[in-house]
């Protein structure tokens, strides 16, 4: 894990943050409009969910990784909607997390590339060249040290089983959490009431329920084994949130298991 960030890298990130903030003022309300009114999505108990997120963020004023489960292509938008109010664009832009999408999903289209840049995205190629991956990880470490929020999907891809695949979490998440002293992890479980397995977009007109918890990986650790331990802790935490979700909404579990047969 690269330890030091260059001045050029810090400037590039500061520029991207600045442009993203300017772009978010018109674009984020449009995204909210699309989710709420075009697609008909709702976040259940939105006010309480945001209050819970605010309380957890207050407990983690330092480096913070946001680790949600992954079922659809717009999970990061939904999570952002659930945890941050539009006013925070003006007052607390930090709450709008940096994302690390798979570059192959949009690199063929320059408009999409531009949109991703303005949405605080740092694309990475899974299984791609190591130097490129190290450059992205180095930027993420820099951002975490600057107390920015970084959102990563620990499962690395949308769950094939429709459930959290805790045993297949990418160890890079643990490596990143361990690379920054004091880094905490906000684990978020978000699922639509009609969501049974992975999809590109969630089905129209449905409610999303959110569970979240703050994980403190504890003592600073280094090395591959420590990265694995931390990543598995995060995976286990998400699996625990999922269990809690299905205990609260057992009918969703029945539908999901029928689908899995």
């Amino acid at each position: 894990m690269p330890a030091a960030s260059s001045r050029r890298q810090r400037w590039a990130l500061a520029l991207q943050r600045c442009l993203s903030r300017a772009a978010a003022l018109p674009l984020w309300p449009l995204a909210l409009f699309w989710m709420r009114w075009v697609r008909g999505y709702r976040i259940e108990d939105l006010r309480a969910t945001r209050a819970r997120a605010r309380a957890l963020l207050r407990r983690a004023p330092g480096p913070l990784l946001v680790c949600p489960n992954h079922l659809t292509w717009i999970d990061s938008l939904l999570v952002q909607w659930a945890i941050a109010s539009p006013w925070q664009l003006l007052t607390q832009f930090r709450v709008f997390a940096w994302n690390v999408p798979e570059a192959n999903n949009f690199s063929h289209n320059r408009w999409l590339r531009g949109a991703c840049y303005l949405a605080k995205c740092l694309p990475i190629r899974r299984g791609g060249d190591r130097a490129g991956q190290r450059r992205v990880l180095s930027k993420l470490v820099t951002l975490l040290r600057q107390r920015e929020l970084v959102m990563l999907f620990p499962e690395g891809r949308r769950s094939r089983s429709g459930r959290v695949e805790a045993s297949t979490v990418a160890y890079g998440v643990g490596k990143l959490a361990n690379a920054v002293p004091g880094c905490r992890v906000l684990c978020i479980y978000l699922r639509g009431e009609k969501q049974q397995s992975r999809t590109v977009l969630p089905e129209r007109r449905q409610r999303f329920r959110v569970r979240m918890t703050l994980l403190n990986p504890g003592q600073p650790r280094s090395g591959l084994r420590a990265a694995r331990t931390t990543a598995l802790e995060i995976g286990a935490e998400l699996a625990g949130l999922e269990e809690e979700y299905f205990q609260a909404f057992p009918t969703a579990a029945v539908a999901s298991s029928r689908r899995g047969r």
Partner: protein
Amino acid sequence: MTRQDVMNKVIEIVRPFVKDSAALSAVTAKTSILDDLKVNSARLVDIVLAFEDEFDIEVEDEDADRVETIGDATELVFAKVA
């Protein structure tokens, strides 16, 4: 332990993680662990940790990042056990 012994053990360690087991029959030092053997990139860490356990060595993150082929893995381990 010879380089060939190390390579044989490396192949045995990698075997459970390989999706394309047919590719193992023609494995050489130049065989890419990710591209040719279709090992999930996230599992590469498990493989390196298995090297540590099997050969009683410690592998640094930077060294692990350089492992791309069976030959890379063999050289990494051989340099530490030789």
